[in-house]
């Protein structure tokens, strides 16, 4: 049987700098034997002196770890893909539990053990533990993002449970930050969750945001959206922005100097002009679509893979089922990031945007 064997970066120089090599055998053991004959240095990495596979190396057949199959006796078919994944990356060790937990990441060449270490070393701030913050924080936690900060000042309300998957019935009345932390840690105890049980204001934004690498905007009001935008720009942090209403979602990524929320919408609407979700409603599952896309963009930024949504605004119309993308440009006349900025410090729009805070009545 001829199979393909994926060789991850740490082993590649021992396999002629190839990402994939061909090998033959009836089962995993025979394939590894041939691999060892063809690449003697690699053999020393995948076999101990006694001929067994060391504990820090996992072997996968079509994405399944062989301990859950028949070990070295696992039969292989023509066209199967094997992967030899070490738990060593960047001088730091992934524990066997981490190798298994993140195996579907590690097995992908775009992530690998090095990428997984990047995720584990990353710090991401999620503003709002609501409709968007729930799915985005959840997928970041599952992905092993090492430090997740949650900013929210609200408590869980029964009406939140139609869409906010971080919170459950028994959490009603609890601070959203605490409920969010407990949920994230129950999914993945391997991460650190930092809670900021406060509204984001001009007093604290520049203390909180600089502690993180990337900011996710899941705010439910214009006041906080402009605050997050301005503070992320001043702190030089990428902002993964999403917003929703009724059946519509919007998503983009602002990198400092390449356009910001004020380039798109220079100023907030007057009170009452654009309703909040509490006033107009939102399809619950829509928050899952946009929040999950925000998590995807964060992971891409951390891993430095693919094309970020920077410079593009994604529009999702749930009713027509259509995704469209329009161009988003840096505005040279932007009051914040333009050529002659007029905004040089944080502005509290309290009571200005139709959704003053703190308010327990306007929650998305």
């Amino acid at each position: 049987m001829a199979v393909t064997v994926y060789i991850p970066t740490p082993f590649r120089r021992m396999a002629g700098n190839q990402s994939y090599v061909r090998a033959e055998g009836e089962n995993v053991g025979e394939v590894l034997d041939e691999l060892g004959r063809n690449f003697p240095n690699l053999r020393d990495m995948i076999y101990d002196r006694d001929g067994s596979i060391p504990a820090h190396v996992n072997i996968y057949v079509n994405n399944q770890e062989i301990h859950s199959l028949q070990g070295k006796g696992t039969p292989v078919q023509d066209g199967d893909e094997l992967a030899v994944i070490p738990a060593i990356a960047g001088g730091q060790t992934l524990t066997p539990e981490q190798v298994t937990r993140y195996s579907r990441h590690i097995i992908m060449p775009q992530v690998g053990p090095v990428g997984q270490r990047k995720l584990m070393g990353a710090k991401v701030l999620v503003v709002g533990a609501g409709g968007l913050g729930s799915p985005s924080a959840l997928y970041l936690a599952l992905a092993g993002v090492g430090t997740i900060g949650i900013v929210d000042f609200d408590v869980v309300d029964l009406s939140n449970l139609q869409r906010q998957v971080l919170h459950q019935n028994e959490d009603i009345g609890r601070p959203k930050t605490e409920s969010a932390r407990d949920t994230l840690l129950s999914y993945n105890p391997d991460i650190n969750v930092v809670i900021h049980d406060t509204p984001l204001t001009s007093d604290n934004a520049m203390e909180i945001i600089p502690q993180y690498d990337i900011v996710v905007n899941g705010a439910d009001n214009f006041t906080t959206r402009y605050m997050v935008n301005d503070a992320a720009y001043f702190a030089g942090k990428p902002l993964v922005d999403g917003s929703i209403l009724l059946f519509d979602g919007q998503l983009t990524v602002y990198k400092p100097g390449q356009g910001c929320y004020r380039c798109l919408f220079p100023a907030p609407p007057p009170p009452g002009m654009v309703p909040s979700c509490a006033e107009a409603g939102v399809l619950g599952a829509l928050t899952g679509v946009i929040g999950s896309l925000q998590a995807v963009e964060v992971l891409k930024l951390i891993l430095d893979i693919g094309d970020s949504m920077t410079g593009r605004l994604l529009l999702y119309d749930a009713l027509s089922g259509e995704f469209r993308t329009v161009k988003l440009r840096r505005d040279p006349n932007c009051p914040l990031c333009g050529d002659n900025p007029t905004i040089t410090g944080l502005i509290d729009y309290e009571g200005f945007c139709g959704a003053p805070f703190p308010s327990h009545e306007v929650t998305a």
Partner: protein
């Protein structure tokens, strides 16, 4: 010249309850006037003092009309114009 105009769900009440309508006009300004004739009050939601509202963007196909010729932007048969207000929900 028939131009397709699309709006978000929170603006559909402004164009008779539809998500998209056909409008007429050789320029964007003419198109907005055409919509105002058919849906009185429409323009007040996207413009103020003859300027576009700062929390509403209009796209001709995939380009923001602020980076084209704004209300003077010429339109062609088959163009799609999208009217997009800022959404605050999260």
């Amino acid at each position: 010249m028939a131009i397709q105009v699309r709006v978000t769900a929170n603006f559909q009440k402004l164009i008779g309850g539809e998500r998209s309508v056909q409008g007429e006009g050789k320029t964007l300004g003419e198109l907005l006037d055409n919509l105002e004739q058919r849906f009185p009050g429409f323009k007040d939601n996207v413009m103020t003092d003859g300027q576009l509202q700062r929390f509403v963007n209009i796209y001709l196909n995939d380009e923001d009309i602020r980076f084209l010729e704004k209300l003077e932007t010429p339109l062609n048969e088959g163009d799609v114009v999208s009217i997009l207000p800022a959404l605050a929900g999260g």
